[in-house]
Amino acid sequence: MSGFLQNTFNGLVGGAFYALLALGLAVIFGMLRVVNFAHGAFYMLGAFGAYVLLAEAGVPFWAALVIMPLALGLLGMVLERAVIHRLTRLDPLYNFLLTFGLTLILQDLVKSRYGVQSSPYATPTELSGTVDFGLFDFPTYRVFILGFTVLLCVAVWWVLGRTRVGMVVRAATERPELTRAFGIDVGRWVTPVFGFGIALAGLAGVLAAPMRAVNPLMGADLIIVVFAVVVIGGLGSIFGSVAAGFGIGLIQAWGEAYLSDFPIVSQTVVFVVMAAVLLWRPAGLFGREEAPA
């Protein structure tokens, strides 16, 4: 029993990363219709940034948790202004391709500066203990991740779904010209949202630094799983992405724990689920059938 609970807990923690990344993707897609291939690269930059801050300036984890998302958010905003924004009127595929190219560039930039070896990063001391849950104990850091992510997802969902901010940004993304004609300064809204999505990726990266290997390629394969996650949840659906993220995390953890003789299961389960969802509900579990592509 306690083993099952522990595995469940782990699944949720693993899922938290998917959820955070999927959330950022969903925010950007839902608001700007851009599928950001470079999301994994920004996740990597978040983790790497945390390392560089610590190693070269002695900035601790907590500060990095604030600084990196801000810095990356800013970078995201610059990017949006400089390039992404030029392509929003065209087929969304162009932005997909652009961010793909960007991924290669970002990976290589980090690689050529810091090499491919994983960089050291330790768990902050305040969180390095374990929490006793009676039946089992669990690393404090994982508990922190889970709580933090859930809170964040709820907050984002509320802001974008229930406040004027989300509405304006959706409008601005869908029809920038028209929206301008209604008295809204589009540039002022869209750019920060893109930055915000990137900041979420960076945040996930900082959170990952103490428990995952920090290296230039850490986001490369992950992002494809996250794509599958958002397709399952319904691209652009904030709630769907988050739910699918946690769900896939759980399934993978259970698969790993109870079907450990078949590693193929935990590797491909996300794609199998995706295929099933496509057959049964092409728009994703929580996507709207009418949602434009």
Binding site: G30, R164, M167, V168, R170, A171, T173, E174, R175, E177, L178, T179, R180, A181, F182, G183, I184, D185, V186, R288, E290, P292
Partner: protein, 230 residues
């Protein structure tokens, strides 16, 4: 209220407006008629500040707005009802209505909008592009009324509306006028136009060919219709 001087506009190398000058006084309803492709929609887009290739001056409420970006013009009280109705797929009907900020002295409260357009009320939580063609037309008009715009730029607001609704739109425009709203109306439907407007401009090949008042239009209806119908 609105003054346009020597306005020219291009799409790439093709010139569609040639030195157009016109004026709309406060509280007036003025229509712009012309064949398909005469440049009527382009003119409205120029006034709104949405057309990149333009020359000439546009002033609104005695203020030169030629250099202002579109969103600032809107904030001064310009309201646009685009020819494609401009419904947002990603926003619900209510969101479509509440999206623009209030800009004029007399913005309609939401309740009043829904009272005037009960069809919209019953669909208030649907995505706006799911509405029928006519419902989208109502939405576009309702939206600028809720903004409280002082000058409405209406691009064929009756296209695709049922006869009953056409009458209602006419009533709405007349009522807006009573409250001091100015309207520049693009219309194919002469019958409707003469019902609501004070004056008319005929746009042909990118120029103002004629300015007429209501009686003149009525007396020359056949001739005009034949002209407009190609």
């Amino acid at each position: 209220m609105l003054r346009i001087e020597n306005l020219s506009a291009w799409y790439g190398e093709a010139q569609v407006l040639r030195e157009v000058s016109l004026e709309v006084a406060a509280g007036e309803v003025v229509t712009l008629v012309g064949r398909n492709g005469a440049g009527k929609s382009t003119l409205l887009r120029c006034v709104m500040g949405l057309h990149p290739g333009q020359r000439g001056t546009v002033s609104f409420a005695d203020r030169d707005v030629t250099k202002l970006p579109a969103y600032k013009r809107a904030r001064l009280g310009l309201g646009w009802v685009p020819d494609d109705r401009g419904a947002y797929a990603t926003l619900t009907v209510t969101e479509n209505l509440t999206l623009p900020p209030r800009v004029g002295p007399d913005p309609w409260p939401l309740e009043r909008v829904y009272e005037a357009f009960p069809a919209l009320y019953s669909r208030r939580d649907s995505a706006a592009t799911m509405l029928s063609g006519g419902e989208q037309q109502m939405l576009a008009l309702a939206r600028v009324l809720r903004m409280g715009a002082r000058l409405l730029l209406c691009d064929e607001p009756t296209e695709g509306l049922s006869p009953l609704l056409v009458q209602q739109v006419g009533d709405l425009l007349r009522e807006a006028k009573k409250h001091g709203v100015t309207v520049l109306l693009v219309e194919q439907n002469l019958h409707f136009a003469t019902g609501v407007a004070d004056r008319h401009y005929l746009l042909a090949e990118g120029r103002i060919a004629e300015a007429m008042d209501n009686s003149e239009v009525r007396s020359r209806e056949r001739e005009l219709l034949a002209y407009l119908g190609i």
